[in-house]
């Protein structure tokens, strides 16, 4: 019980601290007004090319692994929206190498707030607004055109799935970022993960044979980002080589993966070797 009270007070303290630090981050970002538009355009361009890519392909091929254009577009949109739930709150995670190399983490360790929290509130990720714009915009358009017959229950499932998908990506990136406490640079590893997710998590993943699919579900769990919940909404769970219930509870995958990532991250903070002797 006492343990629970202590945990709760830490959580409350962190929420308060994150409000304070986020406000500071946004205020600092607004100092450079000119960068605002440029960053948002960059965010739209990054994910937008993927949307263009799939759009051009499907205009020629119209079907991919038995999925029609409108459903693939919906799957892509789900992934884009989930991505926004990663980059908007946690986008500053990208800077972890820099924070460690420059010894900023020294200062985080001296403050009465969580390390992870201070890392993710380090600056306001302006580019993420472009991701959010594109993600939520395309989801709003393509959800209506997909073959899902929407009910309030399905809408709720979709919202949970998109937030969960964001947490899956966050958890994976957090796990990889934790290695920065031991390695000089993990940016290329994280770009590799990000790139793989960006390029391929919007496809019907069962197209990569059985073992490919299983490793994308349990080893590099990007199937939880959009594909698994989408099969549930589209009634295509019969395609899966795994049990149907896995798709049904897939929105919870985010919580589990994020918890694993965060626990590992916090454990690795003890391995921190501050730069400079």
């Amino acid at each position: 019980m006492a343990e629970l009270v202590r945990t709760w007070s830490v959580v409350r303290e962190d929420l308060r601290a994150s409000r304070i630090l986020l406000r500071a981050g946004w205020r600092a970002a607004l100092v450079y007004r000119a960068s605002f538009l440029s960053a948002i355009v960059g965010g739209v361009a990054l994910q937008g090319t993927q949307l263009l890519f799939i759009g051009v392909l499907l205009s020629k091929f119209s079907v991919i692994d038995g999925w029609r254009l409108n459903d693939v577009a919906f799957l892509f949109a789900m992934r884009l929206a989930a991505h926004a739930f990663y980059v908007v709150p946690f986008g500053a995670l990208v800077m972890i190498d820099y924070s460690i190399q420059q010894g900023e983490v020294d200062r985080y360790l001296l403050r009465p707030a969580g390390i992870y929290l201070q890392v993710v509130t380090r600056h306001a990720p302006l580019m993420a607004l472009g991701d959010a714009l594109l993600g939520f915009g395309s989801l709003a358009i393509f959800a209506g055109q997909s073959s899902v017959s929407w009910t309030p229950g399905k809408v709720a499932f979709l919202i949970a799935a998109v937030i969960g998908g964001g947490l899956v990506e966050t958890g994976m990136q957090t796990f990889l970022a934790a290695f920065s406490f031991r390695m000089t640079s993990t940016i290329s590893l994280r770009i590799l993960a990000d790139d793989t997710i960006t390029r391929f998590s919007g496809y019907p993943l069962t197209m990569f044979n059985r073992w490919g699919f299983l490793s994308l579900t349990f080893v590099f769990p990007m199937a939880f980002i959009a594909y698994l919940p989408a099969t549930m909404l589209l009634g295509r769970t019969d395609q899966l080589p795994t049990a149907t219930w896995l798709a049904a509870i897939s929105p919870c995958g985010g919580l589990i993966i994020f918890t694993i990532g965060l626990t590992f991250f916090n454990w690795m903070t003890r391995k921190y070797n501050s730069p400079g002797s």
């Binding site: 960059g42 580019m127 590799l192």
Partner: protein, 271 residues
């Protein structure tokens, strides 16, 4: 006062070329993950295109094996030509080190081009790994004829020159604004789409094709690869090479103009 011969000039630039090459090797993790990344990407790309072609013999006049090979080769070439940081120029402008660079006895343009060439050579192992993956999966085709191969070499050199000049041009925006992160990303992904690195122009919708063919980006990757796959002959082939050469000349003149304005800005307002 040493005489500035061609050979002393080249020696100076070789140092910068080596700096670019070494900077790739120093970050060994980046290189190893770059290799792993392209192996994964090439594998998944082959699968995606094969699944797409399931049930089609030809789409837009292109067969499955050509489409797969195009996707793999384009990914390999792009991984060499487009490293994450394609010039140290913006950072040096931001930190005010550009003044020192300008005092060196070589022009800033050749310094940057030499360094970019070094970086590309340093990234050759990444491209090679992707190519091997493609070969292992049976997803790569050689050119039909020897003349095609020779024409491809010429075309690829022109494509590389094109990429290097545009990369530097875009980096030079740093002289006018410090906030170029968004512009760089727009350029990176925009050019990936327009150069044919993601999708060959064959598959682009009819209304988009003429627009893209009038932009310089298609001369970077699409033009050499279309020669590789033997889709251009005679006048068409010569026309393609002439257009590529034309773009390199135009872009180089543009680079000199922009550079002159940048120098003016640094001299008048400080770096």
């Amino acid at each position: 006062m040493p005489v500035d011969t061609l050979s002393t000039r080249l020696t100076g630039l070789r140092g910068l070329y080596r700096a670019g090459y070494r900077s790739v090797l120093v970050y060994r993790a980046d290189l190893l993950f770059g290799i792993a990344g392209l192996v994964i990407q090439a594998t998944l790309t082959v699968v995606v295109w094969r699944v797409l072609y399931d049930g089609h013999d030809e789409v837009a006049g292109v067969g499955a094996s050509t489409a797969v090979a195009y996707a793999v080769l384009a990914a390999c070439i792009q991984s060499i030509l487009m490293p994450w940081q394609f010039s140290s120029l913006p950072l040096r402008v931001l930190r005010g080190q550009i003044g020192v660079d300008m005092m060196r006895p070589r022009s800033l343009i050749s310094q940057n081009l030499a360094q970019a060439a070094g970086t590309m050579v340093g990234r050759l192992p990444v491209g090679a790994a992707g190519l091997l993956t493609g070969l292992a999966l049976g997803g790569v085709k050689a050119p039909h004829t020897l003349p095609d191969l020779l024409a491809w070499v010429v075309s690829m050199v022109l494509g590389i020159a094109n990429v290097m000049i545009i990369n530097l041009l875009v980096s030079m925006i740093a002289f006018w604004t410090v906030e170029i992160g968004g512009i760089m990303i727009l350029y990176r992904f925009g050019s990936a789409f327009l150069s044919g690195a993601l999708i060959p122009l064959w598959f682009m919708p009819g209304w988009l094709q003429p627009i893209i063919s009038w932009l310089p980006f298609q001369a970077q990757i699409y033009a050499p690869l279309s020669i590789w796959f033997g889709t251009r002959h005679g006048v068409d082939l010569l026309g393609t090479l002439a257009l590529q050469l034309g773009w390199v000349l135009v872009l180089f003149v543009l680079l000199q103009l922009v550079w002159r304005r940048a120098v003016h800005k640094v001299v008048v307002f400080g770096g």
